[in-house]
Amino acid sequence: MKALFRSIYELIGAPQPPADTPVYRDVIFPNIGLLNLGISLAMVVVFYYLINRAMGVATFNKGRHWAIFLVLNGLIAFLVTVWQTSAQQVTDHSYIYWLATWNAILGMFWFFLFSVLLKRGSTNASTTPF
């Protein structure tokens, strides 16, 4: 698990400053990685299964509504990273924001992936976004 998240998050380079490497690898990467997966899945479930199936909302199933959730998901992923790094008291460094941006991109990717996989189960939005 740690190795997986490490390989994903070190695609943008090694953690900075180097002294904080163990904290990033052992704590922050797994935390934000798991949170990111969970939150993305939850957002997909809320959009397709809660709003567009269980609640039966009929006016929130267009591509732009899906895009709202996509952007919201990216924003949450960014904030989760900033929150996690400050919670673990790592040294302030611009790397934190590069990592947060990368996490937002990953979050949007997961959201897209889960959308493709799960949209069929929705009644009102089974063809959103395409």
Partner: protein, 460 residues
């Protein structure tokens, strides 16, 4: 739609909870997690590549110097104090003058005897006056001798025979002998002078070999009012001596562990000259500091290095190093338990060495703790000394790196030694030859004061 009722509405929330429950790490979790093994899926991923702590280093560092600390809490069995009362000591302990002034020796030794008598760090305290052989005395008796002068001075005492007596009759585990004397050793004739070292070694080993025998020598000077007997008898005694201060010494003889504990309890508080022979010390606490004067790309390579409450890190993982971007790291050391001689920054700068395999790591500097480091909120506040190390070549594989403090004869010994003590001075006849006799029998067998193993490894 309605027939799905409430359950499907809860599904997303349930899924989210299931997903997040085992997930979150925090640094404080790491410890319990490692102990509890595989209770959640995330525990199975402990970094398999991290080397076991210190494993490749080991070597000679793991021997007795680590073990001796175990008994430190127990008081010593016994302390035997021997005060030399030969004629040459009379000047240190003159009868109290009209104006009530005393010598530094009287002030110091009277206080030391009182402290020994009161101390809780030894169970049994016995006091002896040394003439031709030790005569048992009481604390009151010996204290009175120091304060108001020697009643019946012995003609002369012979240092080798005194040491022989100490070693054969008073050398016990957990027991130290404390010998207070001017250590002016006059051989029977000038031809014996070159053999002083051998005489001392023989005296210490005559009653059998004691591999753990240790001697601490503390040197002091005091004003002197009386007759001065130089070692070279031919020079003749000097009455109404002296304008200069005359040295006297406290030798602590016993098993290494007992000597160390006695020194720490009773002799370390006051400033003094000191030299130690065969005394072993527990390995001081030490740790790498990743956020104190660190430079370049390196981090703690220890397993579980992200633990916030880990107290020591020993593995340097170097991700990148070059001449342009060298790696610099600081090792914090806690030398509070060592004698003051080994804590002096000057001594450390000269004698602390770095031994590495296959690396260009160099010791840059040794510094003592400052007010700034002591007040810091970081881990550097726990350490008394810091050693800064620089390297420019990344290691190819895990390699040992050892900080070693050499045991070097302090410079004062040479300064206090004289070949001719006919003129009274703050020097002692053939002192360095006397101390040569205390060195371990096998040359080159001198142990370092401590060895602190570290590991250098490439970053992953």
């Amino acid at each position: 739609m309605r027939h799905f009722s409430a359950f499907p509405r809860l599904l997303p929330a349930l899924g989210l909870i299931l997903l997040l429950l085992p997930g979150c790490y925090s640094r404080s979790d790491m410890k319990s997690e490692e102990g509890a093994t595989a209770t959640s899926k995330s525990t199975t991923e402990t970094p398999a590549t991290a080397p076991p702590e210190e494993a490749p280093v080991a070597g000679p560092a793991e021997d007795a110097s680590d073990v001796v600390s175990g008994t430190a809490a127990q008081p010593l069995q016994a302390v035997n104090v021997f005060l030399e009362v030969s004629g040459s000591m009379e000047g240190f302990m003159p009868k109290t003058g009209a104006s009530g002034e005393n010598t530094k020796f009287q002030q110091h030794i009277a206080q030391l005897l009182s402290e020994i008598n009161r101390t809780s760090s030894a169970r049994q305290k016995t006091f002896y006056r040394i003439k031709e052989k030790p005569y048992k005395d009481t604390y009151q008796g010996i204290s009175a001798t120091v304060r108001s002068g020697i009643q019946q001075p012995a003609k002369s005492t012979d240092i080798p025979s005194v040491l022989d007596t100490l070693m054969s009759q008073y050398y016990q585990p957990g027991t130290v002998s404390v010998l207070i004397s001017d250590f002016i050793y006059s051989p029977k004739n000038a031809g014996a002078i070159p053999y002083i070292k051998t005489d001392i070694t023989d005296a210490l080993t005559r009653s059998g070999s004691h591999p753990d025998r240790a001697v601490s020598v503390y040197g002091y000077t005091s004003d002197f009012r009386g007759t001065y007997y130089p070692a070279l008898v031919a020079a003749g005694k000097k009455t109404n001596c002296c304008d200069t201060e005359i040295p006297y010494y406290i030798w602590v003889v016993g098993p290494a562990d007992a000597v160390r504990r006695f020194d720490a309890a009773l002799l370390e508080q006051q400033p003094s000259k000191q030299a130690h022979f065969g005394v072993t010390y527990p390995r001081p606490g030490y740790s790498l500091l990743s956020k104190y004067q660190n430079k370049g790309s390196w981090y703690y390579g220890d397993a579980g290095a992200s633990k916030r409450n880990a107290d020591a890190y020993r593995v340097v993982a170097v991700s990148d190093a070059s001449v342009q971007q060298p790696v610099e790291f600081v090792v914090g050391m806690n030398l509070g338990q060592l004698p003051s001689q080994y804590r002096e920054v000057g001594y450390l700068k000269q004698n602390l060495t770095l031994q590495g395999v296959d690396t260009d790591a160099k010791l840059l500097d040794v510094t003592a703790a400052t007010d700034q480091t002591k007040a810091s909120s970081g881990p550097e506040s726990k350490f008394t000394h810091f050693a800064k190390i620089r390297l420019t070549k990344p290691p190819k594989a895990a390699r040992p790196l050892v900080l070693k403090l050499q045991d070097q004869r302090p410079a004062w010994v040479a300064q206090w030694t004289t070949k001719n003590d006919a003129t009274p001075a703050s020097k002692t006849f053939a002192l360095s030859s006397l101390l040569d006799g205390l060195e371990p029998q096998v040359e080159g067998d001198k142990r370092p004061v401590f060895e602190l193993p570290l590991t250098l490894q490439p970053g992953e």
